[in-house]
Amino acid sequence: MLDDGLERGGSSQAKTSNGKQAIAGIGAAPWNRSVTLERLGGDEKLLHEVMRIFAEEAPKHLSGLRDAIAQQDAGRVERIAHRLQGELGYLTIPEVLLAARELEEKGRNSDFEGALRLLPSFEADVSRLLHLMVAEERASGAPEATP
């Protein structure tokens, strides 16, 4: 479930007056459900599936990224960041997407210090994004996803 992904993903977020979530660290680039829905051809069921998969996969990717950097496994850093980059591309958060791209480049260049510097804010952004997705789902009245 989306909530399970959140538990694994980490932190919480602040709620704005209109009920939407603001993501600290990724500035004015909120999770935009309607844009993602449009990208997916307006298919609500598919959107829900995509969000569920992301909620399941993202924590595993973040954990893998941490391990790969710690073990200085450049290829793995590059692969995981590349994959996150692709997934985040659908979720329409350009700033987080850029951070994933930077992490991929750090991996390609075996720049582990640089990757380590980027990682905390990237992890936080992805976690907040997950929270925001859940909140949007609840606000839109969509049924909870089941694995």
């Binding site: 997916l40 051809g41 998969i53 992301f54 399941e56 996969e57 692969r79 692709g86 997934e87 591309g89």
Partner: protein
Amino acid sequence: MMDAIAVQSLGSEQPGPACDRVLIAEDDPMFRRILRSWLEDWGYQITVAEDGAQAWHILQEISPPHLLILDWIMPNLNGIDLCRMVRERASSPYQYILLVTAKDDKQDLVRGLEAGADDYLSKPFDRDELRARLRTGRRILTLQDAQFKIGEELRLQANHDGLTGAWNRTAILGLLQREFEHAARSGNTVGLIMLDLDYFKKVNDTYGHLAGDDVLVEAAQRMRQAVRSYDLVGRYGGEEFLIVSPDCNTEQIQACAERIRSAMAREPVHAYGSKIAVTLSAGTAILAPGLNTEREALAAADAALYDAKSAGRNRVVSCT
């Protein structure tokens, strides 16, 4: 013919039969889910591989999909290497490859195309763009399919008698040559039957040439039914037929010729509104590499056929 097929498919919203099956090789479950959902909506039949090695395994099947969507970065075997392997295999019919990746540098694009991809799409791909690119692939594959069918048709026409569907003279003599070479290697013998419809000129003169054509078609059909599935029936010329039976000895070829004679004589042919009693004469011979040549065996079968005719027709004579 080709134009008709192409226009029909290009004008259709649904994929043509040549490319309605798509292999998706993608290790990311999110993209797999998105691709599957969209492609199924568009009417494609989907086969999914979760990595490159699994995709390669699927491509070894007898009838793999012709349209491939390959992710660049996959475990075990990446999309670029998979592309190269597909192209090195140079299989026919052609497989159209759409490479997808989050890589979007021009250099990456060049690398992907040089590896053998036909098209390249960066993730996250746009739904309409993906659909349009798949249609492009489908158009190319449909044209190829039409050309392939025309090639097959031409091959069939070049090798077969247009009236009876039997092998034509050139083809049956070529097959005889092939069977001779095969028999020379295996040490087996090849049976030959030369057949001629009795009084066929009279059939044409009495019932007309259209009825004569019907008789030829029916005779060829009864011959095919009387022989083994791997025996070869050819129209040697006019009302003469030649049957080549691989791995066959004297007794077997005599029995086969007798089955054909009997099948022809047993009941009349319904030809162009008439019931026409038709018989045939047959001469058999054995081709034994080392002992005789194809030409000698053919001459022997022909001589036996002549003897069958001289002895009163509607009979089988074997070359001794």
